[in-house]
Symmetry: C2
Subunit: 219 residues, 2 copies
C-alpha cells in the first residue's frame, strides 16, 4: 500500500509539472511532440526527415533524452536545428521535471515546433506525460508485428503512430493486418502513417498533417 | 537521500533473492540464462533456434517475461519446451522475486538448461540480477550501430553478446567496427557471436559454446 501511494504521488506530481510545461509552451507559441519508440526504431532519423521537409514552413527544434552520449542532439544540431541533450543517467524515460528544466534554457523564441525525443523504450515513457501537444510512437518493421500485443500501454497512449522502415518489409515476416488489428483494439483513434525515414517515403503525408496540427493550434 | 536509500534497499533485497534462485537452480542441476534485448531484437526466435540445435543434447526450458500476452511462451510450448509466462503487468523488467515465484511451479526436473526471456528493454533489466548463470544480450542489426554508446549499463553487464539479424546487414547502415569499438570499451571480456536466428546462420557456434558452458558447470 505504501508503494502504491508513493507511485501515485510521483505520477500526480509529474502531471502537475507536465501541465506547467504545456502552459509555458503555449505561451511561447510552440507546438510540441513527444517521440517515443524502441531503441533503434528510427526516432532521430524521423526527426531529421521531418525537419528536412518542414524547415521552409516552420522552425523546428529538438530536445533529446538518452541515458548517455550526445549522438542524437549532435545530429540534430548538424542539421541546423536548435537542439539540447538531456542525459538521464540511469533513468529509462524522460519525465515532466526533466523537460521543465530543459525548457528553462531552450531558445523557445527560435522555434515553432519542438520535438522531444524520449529514451528508446516501449515501456517506461508511456507512464510519464511531458506536457507536449502530441504523443507519437514510431514502430518499425524489423521489430515485428506483435508489439501492440506485448506493449499495450504504449500503443494505447499515443495520438500518432508512424510505421517506419517500411522499405525493408520484403525482408521480414511482418503481417501488417495482424499488426493493425492489435493497434485497432487498443487505440482505434490513432492516426497512422507508414514511412521510411531514410528514403523519405511517406514522410510528406506525415509532415503535411503535422503542419496542419501546428496551424490549428495557433488559432 | 530517502529515494537513494529506498532504491539501494530494493536492489540489495533483489540480490539476496537472486542468490537464492541460483542456489535452487544449482541444486536442481539446471544451468540458466537471462536473455535481454530491445523489443523485437529476436529473443524468442533465438531461443527457438537454440533449442532446435540443442534438443538432442540437452533438455531446454523457457520462462518468458512480458507486460502482457502469452505469445512467446506459446511459441516455446509449441516447439516442445517446458515453458511458463510471467506477465509483469506494468513492470519494465523481470526481477529476482518474479523468477523466484516462477521457479516454485516450473518443472526444473525436466530441464538441463533454463532460458529466461526478459521484458524487451535495453534499460531496466540491466539493473536487476535474476540469479542466472549467464546474462546474454541480443543486439540486432536494424537497431543501429550506436546502441553501446547510448545504453552503456546493459552492454557493460552481460557475459555474451549475440548480434542477430546479420542477414539484413546489406540493407542497413551499420558500421560493425564502430559498434564493436563501443562494445570493447564497455565490456572487453564479452563473448560475441554474430547470428541469424531465423536462418540458423552462426547459431551452431553459439550453441556449441553454450553446451560447453553447461558441461563445465556440472563438473
Amino acid at each position: 500500500m505504501v508503494q502504491v501511494q508513493v507511485v501515485e504521488n510521483i505520477l500526480s506530481a509529474n502531471d502537475r509539472i507536465a501541465d506547467q510545461n504545456r502552459e509555458r509552451l503555449d505561451q511561447a507559441g510552440v507546438f510540441s511532440i513527444n517521440f517515443m519508440a524502441s531503441p533503434g526504431a528510427g526516432k532521430t532519423s524521423t526527426i531529421l526527415a521531418t525537419h528536412a521537409l518542414l524547415k521552409d514552413r516552420l522552425r523546428v527544434g529538438m530536445i533529446n533524452g538518452d541515458l548517455a552520449s550526445t549522438i542524437d542532439a549532435d545530429r540534430a544540431a548538424g542539421a541546423g536545428m536548435p537542439s539540447m541533450q538531456i542525459n538521464t543517467g540511469g533513468s529509462c524515460h524522460l519525465d515532466a521535471v526533466m523537460l521543465h528544466n530543459a525548457l528553462q534554457n531552450f531558445p523557445l523564441d527560435q522555434v515553432d515546433l519542438l520535438i522531444v525525443e524520449n529514451v528508446g523504450n516501449l515501456v517506461c515513457p508511456a507512464g510519464f506525460q511531458l506536457g507536449t501537444h502530441l504523443n507519437v510512437l514510431i514502430a518499425s518493421i524489423p521489430e515485428g508485428d506483435d508489439k501492440p500485443y506485448k506493449y499495450p500501454p504504449m500503443y494505447r497512449g499515443v495520438n500518432v503512430l508512424l510505421i517506419n522502415k517500411i522499405d525493408v518489409l520484403p525482408y521480414f515476416k511482418f503481417n501488417m493486418d495482424y499488426f493493425r488489428k492489435g493497434v485497432e483494439i487498443l487505440n482505434p483513434e490513432v492516426v497512422t502513417f507508414p514511412i521510411c525515414a531514410t528514403s523519405g517515403e511517406g514522410v510528406g503525408a506525415w509532415v503535411d498533417w503535422l503542419a496542419d496540427q501546428v496551424k490549428r493550434n495557433r488559432r
